[in-house]
Symmetry: C2
Subunit: 145 residues, 2 copies
DNA sequence: ACGAATGATACTAATACGGTATCATTAAGT
DNA sequence: ACTTAATGATACCGTATTAGTATCATTCGT
């Protein structure tokens, strides 16, 4: 049973790495060298983050990725949602229908409470809280090169 | 992302059902009728519980299953271990080796803390806490029929 | 002896996870 | 304009886990 899959883990590492660089953009080759993540896998993952609006990408020679949001705004729960779907520790078998079992529904309440707790704690984790120093991001849309 | 799989869920229901019956043993046909779990699936699951010492089984005509332990002693964490393996929300990618990433290790500490908390709360859940009333179990090895 | 139950075990189908491969598109540098 | 180095999009593959089925052997009450 895993709470965090490799996808999410790699994404976290990549995002932290990007956040820590004092650059305008970080390329895949650089991240492959630094993080030892399989190249095609990392690429797919970064593209997903880009499509989700977490990274901003720059195509062409000298291109790469940069954070599209403040590090504080990139939360672990969001990454889990992207790569692992909704956080539902529970998922009652009898969806929508009235649950016919008293014990099961009591269980559901318990698990729900635990889930809420886990989510609260997970959502406190973000890229800023995982990196030591803050990075000054360039202004919206501007990119000095 | 699921914390509890269907196996574990079904096992919980079956165990609660058995606990709630005031009988010496409960048969598979009865449970199939009551719980709507696919028969072969339920059978396999009960056999596993039997092999793990959680249920006691009686073969032959009129046979069935009964709890082998007090309901308080049958914990959710135990069922999760049986059907889903060790509870490890974390599982660092770099096992044994020194983790090369500062941010990742900070994450690991956080997740570890959350995991400990989840386990503590899950282990408080057991068959007794999920069923309304207590069942008076027959004495060790004795079975009036 | 028969029937109704569990024991043991092998098999199948669906899904998620981890990873690869390929071609298209874009933009910088010459 | 051409080349090159980067990302975009998309399809594919292998393995593990989960969910479920099928079959035959064994046991025991009647």
């Amino acid at each position: 049973m895993k709470l965090i899959t490799r996808n999410t883990d790699y994404a976290l590492r990549a995002l932290c790495y990007i956040a820590e660089q004092e650059k305008d953009s970080v390329s895949v080759p650089e991240m492959v060298a630094a993080l030892h993540i399989p190249r095609p896998f990392l690429r797919k993952l970064l593209q997903t983050l880009s499509a989700e609006g977490i990274l901003q990408s720059f195509k062409g020679q000298g291109g790469g990725f940069t954070l599209a949001k403040d590090p504080e705004q990139i939360r672990l729960t969001e990454l889990i949602r992207i790569f692992q779907g909704t956080v539902e520790l529970n998922e009652c078998i009898f969806k929508r229908k009235v649950c016919p079992n008293r014990a099961t529904c009591r269980l559901k309440r318990e698990i729900d409470a635990i889930e809420k707790d886990v989510l609260r704690r997970l959502s406190a984790i973000n890229i800023a809280s995982l990196t030591a120093h803050r990075r000054i991001r360039p202004k919206e849309g501007v990119r000095a090169r």
